[in-house]
Amino acid sequence: MIRIMLPAHLRTLARIDAGEVTLHVEGQATQRLVLDALEARYPMLRGTIRDQVTHQRRAFVRFFACEQDLSFEPPDAALPDAVALGVEPLLVVGAMAGG
């Protein structure tokens, strides 16, 4: 199971009451496969984390896990083992901004 933490606005949008979403991904877990599974379960999230057509990450969204910034990793790169095994969550984060 993959654990995903979404920012508050996206949890509200998807009506997710729990703090985390857990998803099953077939094969080796990658950003792309995790987001595919997330969007399949919550279609209203399409376009909010990555572009609907190009699948490019939205500029002010970041992916953190295991105290690393994975935002610039290739979407088909394997996620850390701790994420793939559900030990650590994948954090989808809105970039910090004031105001």
Binding site: H9, L10, L13, R46, G47, T48, Q52, R58, F60, V61
Partner: protein
């Protein structure tokens, strides 16, 4: 029992304000979509319980929300706005070519006859239509692909298609306005478009009477007389009596003719409202006095409406989509400010009172007349 429902879009959410026909006691519902920018909320004339909202954020992009119960509950709809074909380029602020990029939906205009048909005006400027209640969106690309498209340039707020006016008598005719390209008209339901800007004069562009390039801020029409259009341009209040074929200035005795909002009385086609703003570099009322100006002569002669509005130390703005009228027997007029006030007049502008004072900055105001 008649009543009104005021739909308010703000920088941090949507609000729904309701009152009975007296328009004295108001109920405030919201924020809906708290924390998100709500550029526009609009209701279907064919089904008042059907509302559409444009919800966006710099982080998470564009969403479209739909309500089928007058704003009590909402459901996210389709949010894929893909330009048709290869989008190409328009001009950037510095005059260099810049790729067409979708940013947000500025305005939603439901069809007068079909609740499932709704138009969306977007930035970068283009017009989209949904015929299935907002699930799928198709671009009416004849507008963006008009020959002048590569020369369009953004206004200070972005290159946005912010105004959509549907002709109530000729369903195939509609008008759109783009900052800073101007007004365009279609007579065939959106396939072919042509600019209708003759008579506009803008000293801020190299050719002041160019066919395109004018920063039109807002259009207004009275449904009984669709060939007559009123316009608040960057500077100048304008009027067309021939469906945009030609325009004449009707700023008349306004103290300043810069502004954003303009609307027409529900029952008097020659009664027009504007909110003059000091200048293009000082976006607040002249002398710190918030004054709506009303013309009962279709422009030219204007009177200041001040009763109930702050007449000192007021430095808010009233944005282009933030004024609306109801169609009760005594026409109500409403506008919202960047200071978070929504003012209402139940007597056609003679007197005003705030419905709410402390909302986030108001981006848009629409009114539904119910019952």
């Amino acid at each position: 029992m008649s009543g009104v429902r005021v739909l308010v879009g703000t920088r941090k959410g949507a609000f729904v304000l309701t009152a009975d026909g007296k328009r004295e006691r108001w109920e405030v519902s919201g924020p809906h979509f708290g924390g998100w920018e709500i550029y526009h909320v609009n209701g279907s004339p064919a089904d008042p319980d059907r509302l559409y909202a444009s919800q966006s954020s710099g982080w998470f992009g564009q969403l479209i929300q739909r309500s089928d119960d007058g704003g009590r509950t909402w459901k996210p709809m389709g949010n894929e706005f893909s330009y048709e074909g290869v989008p190409g380029t328009h001009q950037w602020y510095d005059g260099t070519p810049h790729p067409w990029e979708f940013a947000r939906v500025w305005h939603l205009e439901p069809s007068p006859s079909d609740p499932d048909t709704v138009y969306a005006g977007v930035e970068d400027a283009a017009l989209f239509r949904s015929v299935d209640g907002g699930q799928e969106w198709q671009e009416l690309s004849g507008l963006r692909c008009h020959g002048s498209g590569p020369s369009w340039q953004p206004g200070a707020g972005g290159m946005c298609l912010h105004t959509i006016v549907l002709d109530p008598n000729e369903s195939a005719r509609m008008f759109v306005a783009i900052s800073a390209a101007g007004v365009f008209r279609t007579d065939d339901g959106g396939k072919m478009w042509r600019p209708v800007n003759r008579g506009l004069r803008s000293e801020q562009i190299p050719d002041s009477t160019a066919e395109v390039g004018h920063c039109v801020h807002r259009l207004a029409m009275h449904r009984s007389r669709p060939e007559v259009l009123f316009m608040q341009k960057h500077w100048d209040v304008m009027r067309s009596d021939d469906a945009g074929e030609s325009w004449a200035e009707v700023s008349g005795d306004l103290p300043t003719d810069f502004g954003f909002a303009i609307d027409v009385h529900a029952h008097e086609p020659d009664t027009v409202y504007v909110v003059p703003i000091k200048s293009d570099s000082e976006h607040y009322p002249l002398e710190g006095k918030l004054r709506v100006y009303r013309s009962r002569t279709g422009g030219g002669e204007w009177e200041a409406l001040t009763n109930g509005l702050p007449q000192g130390d007021c430095y808010v703005n009233v944005l282009r989509d933030a004024m609306a009228v109801d169609s009760l027997e005594e026409c109500g007029v409403y506008f919202g400010t960047t200071g978070g006030q929504v003012y209402a007049s139940a007597d056609a502008g003679d007197s005003w009172a705030p419905i709410v004072r402390d909302l986030p900055a108001v981006l848009s105001v629409e009114v539904q007349t119910l019952g």
